[in-house]
């Protein structure tokens, strides 16, 4: 395959960025999108051009490190996958592909396609935990039965990988899906109920402080989420928040 790549280049947080165009030949449909970028970078390096910086690590869709806004979609045109699992067979020979970073005020660009998502970490610091010390003397794991339904729902919420696709895709740059996933996981489990009130209030407060927008229920986040986190979680968080506020 022969492609034309339009890639956002930005030297650092202070510099202003712009699109650069690179032709790329010899792309195999079996390559992952990031392997295609590896090929480009190898060419750039050997020509003495600064390679394109992008975040990635596990390359199997679970670490949440890779991002990229590809042809106007977070993680590209395929559904239910991160960019690292997107394969070039989803594109056609001769395509022009536009690649941008995840854009949001709370995700400042570090370089090229790399953004700073530490705002997500700070929301978790505000309450994304159950206050239990390590002791080896907690009660037996089977002491509290949890219905399979609740456990499965908690698990579905807990599969969030914290990639930020929901924010990048939302016209308000809202982080509601991300925050709701964590709030829901704990709200659904008896262990998490104890601190549920403080947790939802603190996490939402931090979310607002970080400069994420509000939710207007367009549902774009659910569609773009590589892990299929459901909008129901936002409804559950709203309910938890209301309960905690009145």
């Amino acid at each position: 395959m022969k492609l034309t790549l339009k890639i956002w280049r930005q030297k650092n947080n202070q510099a202003s960025g712009k699109f650069e165009t690179y032709p790329l030949d010899g792309v195999s449909p079996d390559m992952s999108f990031l392997e295609m970028l590896d090929v480009l970078n190898n060419e750039l390096i050997e020509k003495g051009i600064d390679p394109v910086a992008f975040d990635h690590d596990c390359r199997e869709g679970i670490c949440g490190m890779c991002s990229l806004f590809i042809n106007g979609e977070a993680h590209g045109p395929d559904r239910g996958v991160t960019t690292c699992q997107l394969h070039m067979r989803k594109f056609k020979d001769g395509d022009t592909i536009t690649i941008e970073p995840f854009r949001a005020k709370a995700f400042p660009v570090i370089k090229d396609l790399v953004v700073d998502r530490s705002s997500f970490d700070r929301i978790q610091h505000a309450g994304g935990y159950i206050s239990v010390n390590t002791s080896g003397n907690t009660q037996d794991a089977n002491a509290i039965p949890i219905s399979k339904h609740a456990a499965d729902e908690a698990m579905d919420a807990a599969t969030c990988i914290g990639c930020g696709a929901c924010v990048a895709t939302c016209k308000n740059a809202s982080a509601m899906l991300f925050v709701a996933a964590k709030v829901s996981q704990y709200a659904l489990l008896p262990q998490g109920r104890v601190e549920a009130t403080d947790r939802v209030l603190n996490m939402v407060k931090q979310m607002d402080l970080e400069g994420f927008g509000n939710c207007t229920n367009t549902g774009a986040c659910e569609i773009e989420c590589p892990k299929g986190i459901s909008l129901e979680n936002i409804a559950r968080m709203n309910r938890e928040f209301l309960k905690a506020s009145v």
Partner: protein
């Protein structure tokens, strides 16, 4: 430092840990506030250690090269975590978990460490449930279990196919609580590039901020290395792209012995390589072997027709299939340990029975499981068990509920539907049992420098059993290190803050800067990956699944030459004072270039086959590994002497008092 003292406590094995804990020195809470600990790496071991040490009151500085501790590669572990809970009432016990682990490791691990691991395993599950980890449950609301390779009980706890993710997010949540309290100071996008020693003790590190390129000095009373394994020395592995040996190698160069580097796990069920562009390999969880059956065609002509695309696997009749694991190992069948399953796959493919274009793939087939589950469901629902279409539909639903995310991952990568046609799999580098030598306290040969999780060598011998890596990481971090490090730190309560303007910090920073300057000023012609791929090829071809004397000698020579070529001809664009991933990669590959040679040297010296180390010269007539307990029942701990070829071997004899050494058999 010349002699190896494993510091195993005296007494009967089931009492060692308890009596050890009863007699160590403790640090009082007021003094803990004046003691700093550095933790490098935030996976299951590092994350759990950082959180627990902070809960205890120490001031923790934690470092990870990713943009958040939640991204550490423990996150990718799929299948599960072992614990001797015996919830299934199927005969499990601490002793049995201990025994299975020692046997699984082909009798090359340290008894006392393994027993302690089995002993604390049950606490891990309790702790994680209390943290809100959503393990799989059955309809009665109690925890569910599955089986993994090399054992005859069901002791594996799991959270779908994302157990590592859920456990890591549990440790991450415990860290977050301490970060919020200010007890952990988190340094994301930072890489440790050297250890600083003062008066013979580990007292700090030099770290590079990967965003600004700035070198930083961090001091502490103890340094904990939890930086994971070194599988990426093979370039292609199931490890994350950034996984590296640098932190472990830097402490090795400062005096920590490196043990058993040749013990590497080649995982049997990975998606086969598709082409030269490949950057990493993807694992298909071992849990799939609970239900999937592994086979190749019985006849060479069928294998050939399949490779040429003239025949489909689903067209092959039952009697024309060779379920070679079930044939060779009837009692464990498809659930033999990983090293055994990998070698068996290689043997069939080398004999010409491989089923993909490259001839390096075997089938993992779910048709039988789909039918079995489908019939069961039809029976439960009172439907027609003989309606094939219905049975297939119901069975597919069960398989999807169990392994859905893995099947989806396979389909995205290979572009084939594994519910309809068998998966193709082949072994790939996955885990490294070898690592930094540690004593019973998890301390390296450098006082005050600890090593935990995959980065150390201690618990898995020559082969790790499935679902035991998560267990070891969390055991080390939550339940072992917090005790052992306290005993050491109790002697440091009067030391006071360690200043960073000492000449030792100055010297370490200077040497790191010199190495960075070498790379950015080098006017080479090839990228870092170019050399890394070459290293990987030597490792896979000559130090991979099967090794022999000739190949290993060649590998040692070729790696040394490649290392020279790398320093002469590598091209690193940009500068050291900015975000520069190529520079970060160059610094990591430089260490792999040294480790690779030591790895081959270790494999060459070990004239036996055991676990993941298979020397072609040492095998039985049936092709099984042949150990030599008389000459090799020891840990090979290598001391750094300037060049890998000059490394000096130290031996820690392995004494088995509770388990009899016998030939490992899964037949």
């Amino acid at each position: 430092m010349a002699t190896l003292d494993s510091k195993i406590p005296a007494g009967p094995i089931d009492d060692k840990w308890t009596s050890y804990k009863d007699h160590i020195n403790l640090v009082n809470p007021a003094n803990k506030r004046n003691i700093d600990v550095i933790v490098v790496g935030t996976g299951l071991a590092g994350g759990s250690a950082a959180a627990t040490l902070a809960e205890l009151g120490y001031n923790v500085k934690a470092f990870c090269f990713q943009d958040s501790p939640r991204r550490a590669h423990s996150i990718a572990a799929q299948g599960g975590i072992n614990a001797a809970k015996n919830y299934q009432g199927d005969g499990d016990s601490t002793y049995r978990l201990f025994y299975d682990t020692v046997k699984g490791g082909d009798y090359r691990s340290r008894e006392a460490n393994v027993y302690r691991l089995a002993e604390v395993s049950a606490n891990i599950i309790d702790q994680c449930v209390a943290q809100g980890v959503p393990f799989a449950r059955d309809y009665g609301g109690l925890l569910d279990n599955r089986s993994f390779g090399g054992v005859l009980v069901s002791r594996t706890f799991y959270a779908k196919g994302q157990t590592g993710q859920q456990l890591l997010l549990g440790a991450y949540s415990a860290m977050n609580r301490q970060i919020a309290r200010g007890k952990i100071k988190m340094y994301n996008r930072h890489e440790m590039l050297d250890l600083v020693m003062v008066d013979g003790k580990a007292r700090g590190i030099i770290a590079r901020d990967l965003v600004t390129g700035k070198l930083e000095r961090h001091a502490a009373h103890a340094v904990v290395i939890a930086s994971g394994g070194y599988g990426n020395v093979f370039y292609l592995s199931t490890n994350a792209m950034g996984s590296n040996v640098t932190a472990a190698w830097k402490i090795h160069k400062k005096g920590a012995f490196f043990a058993n580097p040749c013990y590497t796990q080649i995982h049997p069920t990975c998606i086969p390589v598709s082409g030269d562009h490949q950057s990493k390999l993807t694992l298909m969880s071992e849990s799939l072997r609970n239900d999937g059956r592994i086979w190749v065609p019985k006849k060479l002509e069928d294998a050939k027709a399949i490779r040429e695309g003239k025949l489909k696997p689903t067209q092959l009749k039952e009697e024309d299939r060779d379920y070679y694991l079930e044939r060779r190992y009837p009692s464990f069948g498809n659930l033999v340990p990983r090293d055994v399953a990998s070698r068996a796959a290689k043997e069939r493919c080398d004999a010409g029975f491989g089923v993909n274009k490259t001839g390096e793939a075997v089938y993992l087939d779910f048709a039988a499981a789909i039918e079995r589950y489908g019939k069961e469901q039809a029976h439960i629902k009172g439907l027609d068990e003989n309606d094939a279409a219905l049975v297939k539909k119901l069975g597919t639903q069960i398989v999807e509920a169990k392994y859905g995310n893995l099947f989806q991952m396979y389909e995205k990568i290979v572009d084939e539907n594994p519910y309809e046609t068998p998966m193709m799999i082949y072994p790939a580098v996955h885990y490294t049992m070898g690592g930094v030598w540690v004593d019973y306290n998890l301390m390296t040969t450098i006082p005050g420098c600890y090593c935990i999780g995959e980065a150390n060598f201690s618990d898995h011998g020559a082969n790790r059993l499935g679902a035991s890596a998560l267990m070891q990481g969390l055991a080390d971090g939550y339940f072992v290190l917090p005790y052992t490090i306290g005993d050491y730190l109790s002697k440091d309560i009067r030391t006071g803050k360690i200043p960073t303007d000492l000449p030792e910090f100055e010297a370490a920073e200077k040497s790191v800067r010199a190495q960075i300057d070498t790379f950015v000023n080098n006017k080479g012609t090839h990228s870092v990956d170019y050399f890394h791929k070459k290293l990987g090829k030597i490792m896979w071809d000559k130090v991979g699944m099967a090794r022999n004397e000739k190949g290993l000698k060649e590998a040692i020579e070729e790696i040394a030459q490649l290392r020279d070529a790398f320093y002469k001809d590598v091209k690193v664009p940009g500068t050291g004072e900015e975000y520069n991933e190529e520079l970060a990669k160059a610094l990591r590959v430089a260490d792999f270039m040294e480790l690779g040679e030591l790895f081959a040297k270790d494999a060459l010296h070990r004239n036996e086959s055991c676990g993941g180390h298979f020397r072609e010269e040492y095998q039985s007539e049936e092709g099984e590994a042949q150990r030599d307990d008389k000459n090799f029942a020891y840990v090979a701990a290598w001391e750094y002497k300037g060049k890998p070829s000059d490394a000096v071997l130290h031996k820690e004899a392995l004494e088995y008092e509770n388990i009899k050494l016998v030939t490992r058999s899964y037949k």
